[in-house]
């Protein structure tokens, strides 16, 4: 099983548009959207949902007003300022509650319930590109990476069931827990960047993360013609870190036009941009074929 995860650190580099194009070009693949906070891949892939389910993670404290004596112990022990008094008894603000259970343990009246927390919904779908696994986190919920891990496991199960040998994932943004979870067990991490100060800065940070986890990575420079100066800096950086630059794509309104049509850039009418993406996909194949781990005695599911 091979898994390519597309990440960018900085938003707006074209990560999702490119993932959609690769999904169109790839065969025998399960598509997976790991950007559960603000997913967009479904706008192009137009999935038909086959199964869905609640995503529960952690707990939330709930004070039963009938048993609350108003002593205020809970407010005093809460490290997250999530509990405040309200008409003589105390109320938990679920958006601030961390689910630590400290108030539950210290309430002298045992008046605090601790139910599971509903954080979002996962989906198993089919698309014109192949099966798709995706999710939507509810607003304000903690993106702990657990949902990302759940989606990855579902994608692997689906691929195994159907005898498919590639998982293509649109990775989570940023640098924290969700992206760390996105990268686990990746055979190849494709870093999509742009030649801007923010693009380079965020690339440096995600490359450090990938090398912390000893993952094979490759860089794709999108909107490459925006700044030749920053493009050269990205090349120098990649050369220094021994990371291949697998291609350059121009700053082209065709990307947005395809998005407005609801198509991948390689679908529909032939475009120069689409042809360049096809070439990059072809060039990525050898990188994807090579076993991912230099360590012995370790196998991947």
């Amino acid at each position: 099983m091979r898994e390519m995860v597309v990440i960018s650190g900085k938003g707006g580099t074209g990560k999702t548009s490119l993932t959609a194009a690769f999904a169109h070009l790839a065969e025998r693949m399960v598509l997976c959207d790991l950007d559960v906070d603000a997913p967009d891949l479904h706008l192009i892939a137009e999935p038909t949902i086959q199964r869905s389910g609640p995503f529960l993670s952690g707990h939330v404290a709930e004070i039963d007003p009938a048993h609350c004596s108003g002593c205020g112990t809970c407010e005093a022990v809460c490290a997250y300022e999530a509990i405040h008094s309200h008409d003589g008894h105390f109320v938990v603000d679920p958006s601030h509650c961390e689910g630590c259970k400290v108030c539950v343990a210290f309430c002298p009246e045992q008046a605090i319930e601790f139910p599971d927390r509903l954080c979002g919904t996962w989906y198993e779908s089919k698309t014109r590109f192949g099966p798709m696994i995706h999710a939507q986190l509810d607003p304000g919920q903690e993106n702990s990476g657990k949902l990302v891990t759940l989606l990855k496991a579902k994608a692997r199960d689906r691929a195994t069931q159907l005898g498919l040998d590639l998982i293509l994932s649109d990775g989570a943004p940023g640098l924290g827990c969700p992206v760390i979870s996105s990268l686990s067990q990746a055979s190849l991490v494709l870093l999509v960047t742009e030649p801007t100060p923010s693009g380079l800065h965020d690339l440096e940070r995600v490359v450090s993360l990938c090398s912390n986890f000893r993952l094979r990575s490759a860089v794709l420079i999108n909107k490459a013609d925006l700044s030749l100066d920053y493009q050269a800096q990205i090349h120098a950086f990649c050369l220094g870190r021994g990371i291949p630059v697998v291609g350059h794509l121009p700053h082209d309104p065709e990307v947005t036009e395809a998005m407005v049509r609801g198509q991948a850039v390689t679908e529909g009418k032939a475009s120069s941009f689409g042809a360049q993406v096809r070439q990059i996909w072809a060039d990525l194949q050898p990188l994807l074929e090579i076993p991912s781990t230099p360590k012995s005695k370790e196998t991947r599911s």
């Binding site: 650190g9 900085k10 938003g11 707006g12 580099t13 999702t16 906070d37 603000a38 967009d40 706008l43 952690g58 707990h59 022990v77 490290a79 997250y80 958006s95 961390e98 689910g99 630590c100 259970k101 400290v102 343990a105 210290f106 986190l137 607003p139 304000g140 919920q141 903690e142 993106n143 990476g145 943004p173 940023g174 640098l175 924290g176 827990c177 760390i180 742009e194 030649p195 801007t196 100060p197 923010s198 800065h201 965020d202 940070r205 450090s208 993360l209 912390n212 909107k223 925006l226 700044s227 100066d229 920053y230 700053h251 309104p253 947005t256 998005m259 407005v260 609801g262």
Partner: protein
């Protein structure tokens, strides 16, 4: 007055707008980067004489001579930062959320306060007049809200002492970090772009932020690209579009060189001055037309 600049989708121009607003803001203003996973505001504001202060979370350190292996701490910890395996008590400092429950519940006083480095707060001065605060998450650190809360604390203290307005560059998305970043704001300014991805993430952001009951304004970046569905959505939902930044190649290139938009041409500068005035009026309770 506190303005938070947010967006559902990443890369819509949040940081560009924050930097431009800071440069035309009339009253003394503190520019704060709360996008601690990928802080970029400093790349445009270029603060000088930056002071870097590491920031820590309080985590448990177990005194093995006092510990009776009763397991009360491990049973309470919801994050598996303390685990009792047989008679071996282990701590996993990187898992700790800093709730302090273990220290409180230990009957033997065996758990002391230790520290985990979350990242750093950088403070500096841009253009000799705009104080800047940046939170920067340590690479490999999974949790951003605790660091953000420490930046917020410093931000509030400094703004109060020096009577500063605050402009916050919030992280993208609508999960916990984005909500943490906008909670102090008097007005939320949402930056979006007229593309299907932009519209979709914008709607998620509206859905997440609306329950906070704060006034919200919109900046449409790269106007002219894509379609006009974002404009229609704003009109139908009573969201005032305060300014539109046109889709122009010279703007993208100016950004690519780390330039602040208000320096590119007089028209852009004027529209940001107008935006700043609209935000000020919104913070004072005036409701602009959608």
């Amino acid at each position: 007055m506190i303005i938070a600049v947010a967006s559902g989708k990443g890369g819509t121009g949040k940081t560009t707008v924050t930097a431009a607003l800071a440069s035309v803001w009339k009253r003394p203003v503190l520019a704060v980067d709360l996008d601690v996973e990928e802080p970029n505001l400093h790349l445009f504001l270029r603060p000088e004489s930056v002071n870097t202060e590491p920031v820590y979370l309080e985590i448990p350190v177990v005194d093995k001579t006092l510990c009776q292996r009763c397991g009360a701490c491990a049973e309470l910890c919801q994050f598996k930062a303390i685990s009792l395996l047989g008679t071996t008590l282990l701590t996993f400092p990187e898992m700790c959320h800093g709730c302090g429950g273990c220290m409180r519940i230990c009957p033997n006083g065996a758990i002391q306060k230790g520290q985990r480095e979350l990242g750093a707060v950088e403070s500096g001065l841009s253009q000799g007049r705009i104080p800047c605060l940046t939170g920067r998450l340590r690479i490999g650190e999974a949790m951003s809200p605790p660091l953000m809360n420490q930046v917020r604390q410093r931000m509030r203290t400094k703004a109060q002492q020096e009577e500063l307005d605050i402009l916050i560059d919030a992280p993208p998305g609508v999960s916990c970090p984005a909500m943490t970043a906008v909670q102090d704001a008097d007005v939320i300014l949402l930056v979006t772009e007229p593309t299907p991805f932009g519209l979709h993430d914008f709607r998620l952001a509206i859905r997440a932020f609306q329950p906070l009951g704060k006034p919200m304004g919109v900046v449409i970046n790269r106007a002219g690209l894509g379609d006009d569905r974002v404009q229609t959505f704003c009109r139908e939902n009573g969201l005032p579009v305060l300014t539109e930044i046109p889709f122009r190649r010279d703007i993208a290139q100016h950004y690519a060189c780390g330039g602040v938009l208000t320096l590119l041409d007089a028209g852009l500068k004027a529209s940001f001055e107008e935006l700043a005035e609209s935000l000020e009026r919104m913070a004072q309770g005036e409701v602009p037309h959608a």
